[in-house]
Subunit: 331 residues, 2 copies
DNA sequence: GCGGTTCCTGGAATCGGTTCCAGCGCGCCC
DNA sequence: GGGCGCGCTGGAACCGATTCCAGGAACCGC
């Protein structure tokens, strides 16, 4: 039925051990043997059984990837990127969706532990203690979150914020609002902190609004507050908030971008389909996922001191049509 | 380090075989033995190694799920639904993204074959012959595609089309266009076929345009053709085409929905964020994924005659703001 | 009391690769 | 020519759980 290493051995006229060596470490057998084995393997269509290999080596060749919501375009982009890079490193990826639920997350991690060599935990919802405990059992790399000395990859939010401010300042904006997202979001804090230090150092006025839910209705809800604050530019925690905001601002008779500029974060697929297309900060997921896989592979291969590695991925401002020069400067 | 069945056996003072029986088939051992083993297992925190079990039983407890593009909201929704249901049936899901590439698809299936008990192939891009061959090696359920007698789950496209036509007829539309998607798409053919028979039987005029690429620019490209055809309603192969179409129609000074009604398929997340929100046919993925898992589990449990099972999932018209009464009927 | 069940248990084989170890053959050097 | 060492190979043990098989104990009926 299924073709095993012994079938190949028989056909090639060698022992199973030689077949194993010929395929895994070709330089440890004579060239003639290697060729005979490889030909026999090809002829029979032999693929080593990964389960069996995993049992004897203790390595599965799988990486676990845990995300809160795979239907969220950001996370599904990360999944794609991780799969691509992992494939290049001869690893398979087992992505798992926790539905934003802490209990599911922990349970899933335990279920998968025996089937993977290490975990990539993307924006995990579990508490620091739980994560530290997981990290004690099995190699872990954390994405978009930082807990103690667990290796992590995060976006360079400070740089993203700097790009936005540079853009807005070039357009002569001086009074700028930030619509904060969920209080519990680590990323939200990062962005707010970066904004505060940067605006302060540049002598800009920063108006902080929120916190609102990171959704379309969250953006709608905060619109009037912003109009009352007489800012000329708004930076939203994410694109969904920005879209809700724009919709409500427009409904109030205020024009985007002529009267007020809006910038989002994430670059969701909808961002360039709306009218006007949204200026936003993209988080290049390809690079992010690749960096994370490389870090985990390094950790697995003992090429990293555990507990000290942090890597960052760049963010990128995408200028579309919701930002324009400050009208007050030109009136 | 890791706790094995022998550790439990030693602590409980029995053999490994008894431990195995006590945990897997509790009614096959004496009650006293069972209790001792269970207590020992709990005390050591023993979890059977799924890899080792897989090797000896030939069953992995995993289902493979192959999709063309996990970043596509339709597919990521299916992944979520499948994971939820599989979990209830004590299966894990290994989702894999083929990047729309046939070679990757085949290769992935081969890589995963040894790690899963069966496959769910969602809208596979491979040819019929390849799929038949896979289906000969391992249980397969096909989603949104039909090949020979391979068990499959598909959306009831004929019913979805019927809902759209019923809606448009109620609005007095009689001359309706269909913008066809890719020639190679099985679903596209299904929808076109259903439209032809239905419009014919109801005495409606059907204008067929396309085929266009199933994207925003595809929709932009076909707009002028539709305006020239003087139809009052357009059914697009999918939402992306519909959005491109609406954008270009509007740019030409024709109003949606007052002058022309537009309906899409898929109900992508963007559909209700655009202006006006898009009337479209939603494909309830929860039900779809659940049905698929149930079918595969039945096949694995030999509760299905192989090669004869087809199941269908319902579609659902979501009426938003891009459809309105036929203006010519009321002028 | 003895043959025949039934129930429960432990030992051993097995799944498919990997890897350690011993041995063989050959070449090289003294 | 003998001894040493190196390169290559096959046999066997092993990873951890499952399952077949055989045997012991208890129990039944005659």
């Amino acid at each position: 039925m299924t073709v095993t290493i012994r079938d190949v051995a028989r056909l090639a006229g060698v022992s199973a051990s030689s077949v194993c060596r010929a395929l895994a470490t070709p330089d440890k057998v004579r060239a003639a043997t290697r060729d005979r084995v490889q030909q026999a393997a090809a002829q029979l269509g032999y693929h080593p059984n990964r389960v069996a290999r995993g049992l004897s080596t203790g390595r599965t060749g799988n990486l676990g990837l845990v995300v809160p919501d795979i239907a969220n375009p950001f996370f599904s982009g990360v999944v794609k990127a991780v799969q691509n890079r992992a494939h290049e490193c001869d690893f398979s990826v087992l992505p798992a969706d926790t539905d934003e639920d802490v209990a599911t997350e922990i349970e899933l991690i335990h279920t998968l532990t025996k089937q993977v060599d290490g975990f990539l935990l993307c924006a995990p919802r579990a508490g620091d203690e739980d994560l530290r405990s997981v990290s004690g059992d099995i190699p872990v790399v954390m994405l978009n979150r930082r807990v103690g000395r667990i290796p992590s990859v995060i976006f360079d939010n400070a740089d993203g914020v700097r790009q936005v401010i540079t853009h807005l300042v070039a357009l002569r904006h001086r009074r700028i609002a930030y619509v904060a997202g969920p209080k519990t979001s680590w990323v939200n804090h990062e962005r707010a902190r970066a904004l505060r230090t940067l605006t302060a150092s540049m002598g800009l006025e920063l108006v902080e609004a929120g916190n609102v839910s990171p959704t379309y209705v969250g953006g709608v809800a905060v619109a009037d507050v912003l109009l009352a604050a007489s800012v000329t530019a708004v930076i939203a925690y994410n694109d969904m908030i920005a879209l809700g905001l724009i919709s409500q601002i427009t409904a109030r008779g205020v024009r985007v971008p002529q009267d007020i500029s809006v910038v989002g974060f994430d670059d969701i697929p909808t961002a360039d389909l709306v009218n006007p297309p949204l200026t936003t900060v993209s988080q290049p997921k390809e690079r992010f996922g690749r960096t994370a896989v490389d870090l985990l592979v390094d950790v697995l291969g003992d090429r990293e001191r555990p507990g000290s590695s942090r890597r960052a991925a760049p963010m990128q401002l995408v200028v579309r049509k919701t930002t324009a020069p400050n009208p007050k400067e030109f009136s």
